[in-house]
Amino acid sequence: MDRADVRPLAGRRPAPAPLVVSVLALAAVMALAISVGSVPVPPAALMGGLVDGLRGHVHGTVDVIVWQLRLPRVVLAALVGAALSLAGAAFQGVFRNPLADPYLLGAASGAGFGAAAVLVFAGAVPWLARLGVPVAAFACAMATVAAVTLVARQGSHLPSVSLILSGVVVGSSLTAATSFLMLASRDRAAGILSWLLGSFAYASWGRLLPVAALLLPAALAILAAARALDVMQLGEESAAQLGVPIEAVKLGLLVAATLATAAAVSVAGVIGFVGLVVPHAVRLAFGAPHRRLLPLAAVWGALFMVLADLAARTVVAPAEVPVGVITALVGGPFFLALLRKQRT
């Protein structure tokens, strides 16, 4: 009963077992995802493709399929899943609100509007076309959250309630603007909608690297705030009385989580549910302390997303289901089941 590894402070090795097991599970799921596709590739050729890719000698059809199509897609799904889940956990922690998700402050609606604007106006406005959907989506997501933050700011304070409310209001306005763009340019509507529902079909190393470069510092910043997030669960007043610089931590986490969210959304579209449900599920399964919750949320977010994408590209192959549809359809019932099990 007295497991030394869960003692909060004596634990220099904080609960290694669940994290190790989770990482192994993620590796297994990623291997599975790489081995499945519309063209059958035997395991030996698969390994060959990976080895060739690592050595920078991508030759032949199988190498191209494994190294340039499947691997970047699986890695991107994992990165995006980890980012959304981590950002969701950060937002839920900062706002102490179980409904908080990475899109709470308008990142999704901002990105959606940016993407829709490029998809609609690229033909008429050359610089928009050069900018491209990912950059526009990223920029609009960041700008939206910045605007929401400025609107909600009261002096040096960032009251959570005004942040959430202005996020909802600004988000609704941008969603309406996006809907209008879709209706006004019918031939682009399908493209916008499929972007909004999310997909990893456009994964490539070229797209993946900038995202990874943005995600890494953001993820480290969020992980570093684990203790502050724990203390903040006592309420902002108590946290301040325990020496936590509330406004600085809040702003830092907001920037990091928004960076992660915007980077994820810019390449994968608006994939819902992962950032809301995975942190809750991990909390129910492994407990609330963020030192444990945050890394596990990242790993399980990645795992869930890789599986969702695998389903998205196999259930109606060779066509694809938007991965956002899968995450919502599968994630919802799974979470409800977990919730019920927890209560009894």
Partner: protein
Amino acid sequence: MSVVARAVRAGYGDGDVLRGVDLELRSGEVLGVIGPNGAGKSSLVRVFTRLLPLREGHVEVDGVPLARIARRSLARQVAVVPQSAELPSGFRVEELVAMGRAPHIGLLGAPTAADAEAVEAALRETDTERLRRRAASELSGGERQRVLLARALAQRPRYLLLDEPTNHLDLRYQLEVLAFLRREVARGVGAMVVLHDLNLAAGGCDRLAVLDRGRVAALGAPSDVLTAPLVSKVYGAEVEIHTLDARPLVVPRLPRG
């Protein structure tokens, strides 16, 4: 060694809640703060922890002006036991108590053996060791209050500020809290405790401060402070003061009909 407030004026919005408070909390004493609702008792706690900014006046902790003390450093000297015992779900008792070490560890540092020892000691002294693996949601009201005491203790503060720690607690826990305070005070901690129950205050505190509409109406030993005219005036209710074991006993005069 003391926390000193001089001519403190502070408040919310347009109004002042504290209108010139002079008060000193000394090491080794239990200072009771009493007064009717809205007198400014909780605001005083918030002023001492810099949550409520001063509009006028001066507060210093062991001779250092409050404004010059970093938030983290202040949290190592002054600990608060809050009024509402709402605890976040999903944390075990030992994890909640360990949060008291946050000002010592810092946000990026790693806990040391000293931190672990402080948590163990806090659990021991509040008799919460057997609860350590329990989730906060499984605790009774009294147990929650003891966890909050343990957390404050884990901070190893020189001053403890308790905001109505016995609210909603039955008699046994009320006495437990006072016994706990006496132990800590004996080690040199200064404790300021906001109380509603005048007899509990009279029995458990070395000195009492009566707050009335943002000012200290009386300050001194319980037997000097708790006089019938003063209590009647401040609370707007008729009382009789009796003496029991050299302590004043406040008895409200109930309307008879």
